[in-house]
């Protein structure tokens, strides 16, 4: 035990390396956000964007940036962070690599709620020239989507209260509820007329451009709070990685943490999904991608997944808008379409083996 400095130093270097990766992803995300604001038919330049943000832009630029692009970009960032972080936390809490908002029925519940609002409650639809179909009463749709996605969560958590709260019961009941809600959605769709049907389908595709400023604030607030909660639990999640009894032995109150964590995850995911629609894949793969790059330490994995989620949604939204412009492709589909090959590549190739 003569000199213990060198090992600690190399550990510190290793930690510094992780922080550098995080910073790199912050830069990448910022760059993607800038591109997302610029990209489109208005022909903006980065200078225009900075001028406008500083309050010195032209009237047209102000309308384009503050009215359209910025809300859209911020929505993508916030939703990406929220979905990725909840996915990351859920994968730890449920000790299952497949856990995400759709595993415990949150997404399917939201889809059912939206379908219910549009078709049964008649939230109304109208045609919109460039964007396809939009609903006239988005608040009712969001409210219903939110209510049903939370219902799904409470049933899952309620059921697991009967027996020991085991992750398997939670996931299995989540799968059962997902099936139930998907079935329900299918039945509603079957009886819907053409216009409502297309509105339902269009809603479930997900869209970063449908959120109001107020909704963005709500999403950002909820996401920020849950992110803080998850970060405070980072050591608990680390402990849980080596198994439930080891975690208890390290002083983690596993059952209580699991219950609180699930409620917070579901609530956050439900808010996001009911505002932007179903964007499944981000929450599932962002943590996995970053786990391969930065390792399983939740001190770094949580912020890294958040950045990856934001980056993926920004990138997907840019692609969705530009590929067949002026038509905006469904972002949920683009995320999966681009994310799946990346994910497969990482699974089979593997990176970050130090």
């Amino acid at each position: 035990m003569q000199n213990s400095a060198p090992k600690i130093k190399s550990y510190r270097d290793y930690i510094r390396f992780k922080i550098m990766i995080l910073l790199l992803f912050v830069l990448l995300t910022a760059a993607a956000a800038l591109v997302a604001v610029i990209a489109g038919s208005a022909g903006l330049t980065p200078t225009d964007v900075f001028r406008t943000l500083a309050g010195k832009g032209t009237k047209v630029n102000q309308t384009v940036i503050f009215g359209l692009r910025l809300p859209r970009t911020v929505t993508a960032i916030v939703a990406g962070i929220g979905l990725a972080v909840t996915g990351c936390a859920m994968q730890s809490i449920l000790r299952n690599p497949l856990a995400s908002a759709s595993t415990i029925g949150v997404s399917q519940g939201a889809a059912f709620g939206a379908a219910f609002a549009i078709v049964v409650l008649g939230a109304g639809v109208q045609f919109h020239t460039a964007e396809g179909v939009t609903v006239t009463n988005p608040y009712l749709v969001s409210a219903c989507a939110f209510a049903f996605s939370l219902l799904s969560t409470f049933v899952v958590l309620g059921l697991s209260r009967f027996k020991e709260i085991s992750p398997e019961t939670m996931i299995l009941s989540g799968v059962a509820l997902s099936a139930l809600f998907s079935g329900g959605t299918a039945i509603i769709q079957y009886f819907a007329d053409d216009v409502s049907l297309s509105a339902v389908v269009f809603w479930t595709f997900g869209d970063m451009g449908r959120t109001s400023v107020k909704q963005i604030w709500i999403m950002a607030g909820v996401t920020a709070l849950s992110f803080i909660y998850f970060l405070l639990n980072r050591w608990n999640y680390n402990a849980l990685e080596s198994g439930e009894s080891s975690a208890k032995g390290l002083g983690v109150n596993v059952n209580a943490m699991r219950l609180t964590g699930m409620v917070i995850c579901s609530f956050t995911a439900a808010i996001i999904v009911s505002f932007v629609g179903i964007v499944n894949f981000v929450g599932l793969i962002s943590p996995h991608v970053m786990r391969r790059i930065i390792g399983g330490d939740y001190r770094f994995l949580l912020p890294a997944s958040a950045l990856m989620g934001a980056l993926m949604l920004l990138f997907s939204d840019i692609v969705a808008r530009l590929v067949v412009s002026p038509v905006v492709l469904p972002i949920g589909a683009i995320t999966s379409f681009l994310g799946a090959p990346l994910f497969l590549y990482l699974i089979f190739k593997g990176v970050g083996r130090r």
Partner: protein, 283 residues
């Protein structure tokens, strides 16, 4: 000093532990011995409040484990499970995790130094920045032991710590445990199957049979009678070059048929009962 008082534990209506009572003093190494399914792992998990027994108390220096917060228990007791998942963590991070009960937000220089010195003590320096999911079973076991030591507990609970280790590592790891126990005056409680390792490195022996304590004491209770009756197989306890060893003598089983029924026979009887119960149900 740990006192266990009248511990009873059952899964549903199936009683696993009955009236467990024993003491563990500082610096003692206690081997928990018994058949598979006798309740050894359950016992060790009850001591640490990983499982909650129906009644009883575990006192560490007078404080009842079941009334303490988990984090407080973790400062006093460390537990190494039989099976350990790794996750994508470096060895250093995995060991550092043992400081969790003491860490508020981020590890201090002291936490890092303790981690460093335990890594050195367990001979893991060359692995310290390797990912644990790339280690062998034995190396992993050492990492988990290192994590428990970093916790700086008063009591160390080990569930079959040598099950994945090769011969040399078994002796090295247990010697290290014994050394730490004596130096830091920790009580170590080990569930162990290898009676010879137990004889060499432990100084107290606790036999568990059918959920109760069959015998508890020092080396004097490691007699052929007690061991034979707990494990249901005749043994001899001999001294080879001054080292006590237990030699199983299965060939003598036939000579003394009425002494102890074999566990297999018991199981066979039980499963027949089950079959009968089942068929009466279906009628």
């Amino acid at each position: 000093m740990m006192k266990v008082k009248d511990l009873n534990f059952s899964y549903g209506c199936h009683a696993v532990l009955r009236k467990i009572e024993f003491d563990a003093k500082e610096g003692q190494c206690i081997a928990i011995l018994g058949n598979n399914g006798a309740g050894k792992s359950t016992l060790i998990q009850c001591l640490n409040h990983i499982l909650s027994p129906q009644s009883g108390a575990v006192l560490i220096d007078g404080a009842d484990v079941y009334r303490l917060k988990r984090n407080e228990v973790a400062k006093r007791m460390a537990y190494v499970a039989q099976k350990n998942a790794g996750g994508r963590f470096t060895v250093f991070d995995s060991v550092l995790l043992g400081r969790k009960p003491h860490i508020k937000m981020e590890p201090s220089q002291k936490d890092l130094q303790i981690t460093e010195s335990v890594i050195r003590r367990m001979g893991l320096e060359e692995f310290s920045l390797r990912y644990v999911d790339e280690l062998s079973g034995g190396e992993m076991q050492k990492v988990m032991l290192a994590r428990a030591l970093v916790q700086q507990p008063r009591i160390l609970l080990l569930d079959e710590p040598t099950s994945n280790l090769d011969l040399r590592n078994q002796y090295e790891v247990l010697a290290a445990v014994r050394e730490v126990a004596e130096q830091e005056q920790i009580s170590v409680i080990i569930v162990i199957h290898d009676l010879n390792l137990a004889l060499k490195y432990c100084n107290r022996f606790l036999f568990v049979k059918d959920g109760g304590i069959y015998a508890y004491g020092d080396q004097k209770i490691m007699t052929p009678e007690i061991i034979g009756s707990v494990y249901g197989i005749p043994v001899a306890v001999e001294s080879v070059r001054g080292v006590s060893v237990v030699v199983p003598l299965p060939e003598q089983q036939a000579l003394q048929p009425d002494k102890e029924p074999l566990p297999e026979k018991k199981n066979a009887a039980r499963s027949q009962e089950l079959v009968r119960a089942h068929s009466s149900l279906s009628l």
